[in-house]
């Protein structure tokens, strides 16, 4: 160990600095295991009474690596306080909360944790779809209100087999969704930025065309400027009054006001929503609808996937400090 520590390394520890960027209300439950390998700089733990930006300016100027916890916004203003930053390790699947343009301009590498969460997200998409079609949550509420005995059978749902399922975004999550839905007898098609050469499913370059040829749309794509409100009223209209939309991506993929109107007016068959435009607020009009399943942004989260995310984050940080290739790169530095 050199007696003259590297910049961005706590003197005497030999462990490189890693800045933890998080909402004050967000836990960072893996601190202990991270501290075995890195010197953790965490404003909310190290200096809770100081404004976070002041802490960053004072203490994090030499930090080369930042872990961005969950959807904590990382705007250009914050990045400007970190002149030595070379890598942003995101712990969520989406990275729309990170100013990717500024990172690209600065040559900062960005990774996400999509690989750790993809299976859980795909499981949840299938579960939401089954729930909407077969009306399970609604039937469960019906029983708990004692209505089976009182009012008799609950209305039937629909069979999953034979449904034409359009997957919007055939990345990690979308591919896992497709693999899971095939044994149910669904006909899969997809939309994506580009056609996947080795993919056996029909490709539609436009979401409108995919919707015209689908009974169900499952949204698994990233939220970008291009995909903001990509599910607009016109797409809902062509999907039709038996059509179902499942969203495990981000709330703003859908024009939520139009979604609520389509559902209230019976112009859309149903929806399974894990994400909303203004979480944890959500349109109260949905609370009265039995053809809608609501979920508090947790498709990707299980204890098992948290553990996979922890392992991925540590291995990516180790790779960075050893000049080895990073996993799950969103963009190269």
């Amino acid at each position: 160990m050199s007696s003259q520590p590297e910049p961005g390394t706590e003197p005497g520890s030999g462990r490189p600095d890693v800045l933890v960027h998080r909402f004050r209300s967000f836990d960072f439950p893996f601190q202990a295991s991270f501290r075995d390998h890195f010197t953790i700089l965490d404003p909310w733990t190290d200096s809770p009474d100081e404004p976070a930006d002041a802490f960053l300016a004072r203490r994090a100027g030499g930090a080369r690596a930042l872990v961005c916890v969950g959807p904590t916004p990382l705007p250009a203003d914050t990045l400007r306080l970190l002149p030595s930053l070379q890598v942003v390790i995101g712990t969520s699947a989406g990275v729309d909360h990170i100013d990717l343009r500024e990172c690209r301009r600065r040559g900062i590498a960005v990774t996400n944790a999509g690989a750790a969460f993809a299976e859980d997200a795909a499981d949840y998409a299938v579960a939401l779809l089954l729930d909407v079609l077969r009306r399970m949550s609604a039937a469960d509420r019906y029983l708990r209100e004692g209505l089976w005995l009182k009012n008799g059978n609950y209305p039937l749902g629909f069979k999953l087999g034979g449904k034409r399922v359009g997957i919007v975004g055939l990345g990690n999550i979308g591919s896992h969704v497709a693999k899971r839905l095939q044994p149910f007898g669904c006909d899969i098609a997809y939309n994506s930025r580009s056609k996947k050469p080795s993919c056996p499913f029909p490709y539609y370059a436009s979401i409108h065309d995919l919707a015209s040829n689908s009974d169900v749309l499952i949204l698994c794509c990233a939220l970008t400027e291009e995909t903001h409100h990509v599910i607009n009223r016109e797409v809902m209209t062509v999907l039709g009054d038996r059509g179902v939309i499942i969203n495990v991506g981000r709330g703003s993929l859908i024009d939520e006001k139009e979604l609520v109107q389509s559902l209230l007016q019976g112009e859309l068959g149903g929806a399974g929503l894990d994400v909303f435009e203004d979480e944890p607020n959500m349109p109260k009009e949905l609370f009265g609808l039995d053809n809608v399943v609501l979920s508090p942004h947790r498709a990707v989260i299980t204890p098992e996937s948290f553990e996979a995310m922890r392992e991925l984050t540590i291995s990516n940080l180790k790779a960075f400090f050893s000049n080895e290739p990073l996993s799950c790169l969103v963009q190269h530095k």
Copy 2:
């Protein structure tokens, strides 16, 4: 067409008699399409003010075929009124409501509609499992009560991948369940009356041993004298406090009183129940549990499977009257 009609054939019509046996409250929605091929004898339509048994004695003595709608009991006493009966076509997957011993003694063939319903039942079993593990119905209730904004995140569930799933009864439904769960990354094992020679999954001759080696039990077997209360307290205990039971078979496969106690005492991790011992009554203690998903005996039912059941029933009746082989035989005559 002979001028002297066959016994059990309405004079002049040429269409053979088919007796419809149903609870008065049960619809028989396919009457019209059946009447194209058969003369339907239905006490509740033909003679609603006459006791059903009197109608059978007076009118159905020559009937060779009976369609048993849903779980309408068909005991020996009713069978005795039908001396010419040669076939019972069940329209449900289970046939525990039919006196199979009496049918066997009389040489009456019995068929079920398992093939028409197996995919829906398997879909529902997977859906219930995902719901219990990921706590979707419970999270949906939490949101509808406005608690996301008020109390923050809802507790996490568990990942389906990697779970050891023991299927009890690897028939039509169980095989479809296994096929669906494999892409989720589950480890499948099974219990059945006998080992299936060409099946790749580990076989356990005892349910106790299957439970000891499983995180989840999915009940897809028929209810018989041997399987009554086959899930007893001991099986629940070895399954353990993280273990989950899914039942899409019949309520009495489980000792329901013991199930309620195991769940209330936290000795079992969760349950997804489509069936109960005394439907539509059910243990009210379950209403307060968030690790339980309740469903009003509808795993097998969608409009699509109703249509498949209608086709199977008509084709089996036609086969019977043409002396051709029957599908979905429970027992030969």
